[in-house]
Amino acid sequence: MTTPVLQVNELQVSYHAHSGVVPAVRGVDLEIAHGETLGLAGESGCGKSTLALALLRLLPPTTKVTGSILFAGKDILTMRPGEVRAIRWAQASIIFQGAQHVLNPVRTIGRQIDEASETHGMNRSGGVAELLEIVGLGARRAKDYPHELSGGQKQRALIAMALACDPMLIIADEPTTALDVMIQAQILQMLEEIKRERGLSMLFITHDLSVLSQIADRVAIMYAGRVIEVGAGRDLLREFKHPYSIALAASFPVIGDTASRRNPRGLVGDPPSPNDLPSGCAFHPRCSVAIEKCRSTDVVLKSVSKSMDRRVACLHFGGQSD
């Protein structure tokens, strides 16, 4: 078996706040193979964006990160700062959410893209112009400032920037959130094509499960800092097993089904605050099938099928209730 592009073992991330240590990620294992796309889904606040930043050690220095994050077999958590910088963007880049202020307002798009390749000593023959053409923006846009682009254009520019150093892995953090459905579909299709042409691996983070069916080979669902269900994309998205996954899927309206739009089912209540997590299974207060034991038993991921691929962290599966 070849070394995975990214392998995350027992990742724990905790912030220091006034109220004490706040766990944001609580023991996550992930693996992404060459050319594979892993979809990572969950509500906002479940720790998925923290995880994305932790992968490249971009969290504030006061944050505590333990476990291991292996890029091509080497642990980024034990590297010296210079080595970490060499990994950033060259081996793994991030497509940030364009709706936020992730582009510097006083530098042109071109300079910001160019800066990435320049930093890593890569002089691409086509340069910025080629990258902008790839994402369908047109080379002329290089001279524009971020405020001159629409939301969709900004997202394309961010994708071009993520490709600047030919990385092996792209971490896409909600790249289509806040875009309208038409543009969302265009961007997803473009990402899919780019990924296929370049043989890229991708970690695709979203709160919208419906997006994943289009792009993810495998899917992991996160809740309260943990992965609670993981499996092959088609398999998992066809039939969710964890009560949270089922509720999350049900909370999105099904296209074409007007009834579901008018009356979204599924999740009741708010996700738990990381500094006040429920005991046992963190989902039990919102779970419709919770039993007494869920309050006290800390559940872990267990295989539920013979293929070993599908794993669920729930007492009702994998014989954990015994």
């Binding site: 490249l56 060259a90 940030f96 800066e115």
Partner: protein, 323 residues
């Protein structure tokens, strides 16, 4: 930068200056009913001399007539004659302007560079020992009247050590060659310059620090670090250019304050510039001189603001295409 933006800002500056001119008339001719009453030598005037002075000061006829005469004279830069020296005010100002420009210019530049550097570094390393020390120091500097710095320097540096002259523009009666003359003037400039710089350093450093801390929360700095940039590059290329933006207009306004600071500093060091002239004019109730100095100070600040608006448009592309 669009022409429209430029035109709007220049127009605004002229409008503000026009209001200053009208305000000046209002204050010195209407609020103050008898400006001549403040002229000390008035009791010795013969009736003819008095007539001449009233005519010269444009105090004849109705208020409207006076206003027309006043506006005309402002356009000719004719501010009348000083009550004190009886010389034309414009000549007095011209004579003293270079000394103040040198003092204020050099200290403003020093203040901007040192203050922004300290503020940038403190904001970037927020909570560090440097930040704590420099912020405390900046607070104390900010809380100190600049002339008190002058007095301290005079008493404890010039007085004790004798390394620096205690006042004036140059050594009176000394016979220097060209280079010696320059050195002598610089020698006299050191303490006043230090006074003004210390007086305004604190507020510049605090402004820049706040601005820097605000910028540090921005998402694009995470983007820059994610791209593999070194901390120093993230700071110089992404944080500082953005943090400077809000500082530009604040600094322009405080450049105007420094003109005020020069008044007391020049007084402490008997440095014969416009500041000392202002202090003397206050002592002598020299209305024509004060009017002119007030208009000059206002014009300078309005100009600084205009320059800041133009610089801002160059630094922030978002301004350029705003119609």
């Amino acid at each position: 930068m669009s022409w429209r933006y430029l035109l709007k800002k220049v127009g605004g500056a002229f409008l503000t200056m026009a209001v200053v001119v009208v305000f000046n008339f209002f204050l010195f001719r209407i609020v103050d009913r008898d400006p001549l009453a403040k002229y000390r030598g008035r009791s010795k005037l013969t009736p003819e001399q008095r007539e001449t002075m009233i005519r010269r000061m444009g105090l004849e006829g109705s208020k409207w007539d006076q206003f027309v005469v006043y506006v005309k004279s402002v356009f000719r830069l004719d501010f009348g004659r000083s009550f004190d020296s009886t010389q034309p005010v414009l000549e007095e100002i011209k004579m003293r302007l270079p000394a103040t420009l040198l003092l204020v210019g050099v200290s403003t530049l020093l203040t901007i560079f040192i203050g922004l550097y300290i503020g940038t570094k403190a904001g970037w390393r927020r909570g560090s020992r440097f930040d704590k020390a420099s912020t405390s120091a900046s607070m104390v500097l900010y809380s100190t009247p600049e002339f008190f710095f002058g007095m301290l320097l005079l008493a404890f540096v010039a007085g004790r050590t004798g390394w620096f002259p205690t006042g004036g523009l140059r050594t009176v009666g000394a016979d220097h060659d060209f280079v010696g003359n320059i050195l002598d003037r610089l020698h006299h400039l050191v303490l006043p310059m230090l006074t003004l710089t210390l007086g305004y350093l604190g507020s510049y450093a605090l402004i820049m620090r706040t601005s820097m801390i605000e910028t540090l929360g921005e998402d694009y700095l995470v983007t820059a670090r994610a791209k593999g940039l070194k901390d120093s590059e993230v700071m110089s290329r992404h944080a500082v250019p953005n943090a400077l933006l809000p500082s530009v207009s604040l600094i322009a306004i405080s450049c105007g304050y420094i003109i005020g600071g020069a008044i007391t500093t020049e007084t402490v060091f008997s440095y014969p510039g416009l500041g000392l002239a202002t202090a003397n004019a206050i002592q002598n109730n020299d209305l024509p001189m004060l009017q002119a100095l007030f208009m000059l100070a206002s014009a300078a600040v309005i100009l600084f603001n205009l320059i800041a608006d133009i610089i801002y448009a160059f630094l922030d592309p978002r301004v350029k295409r705003v119609e």
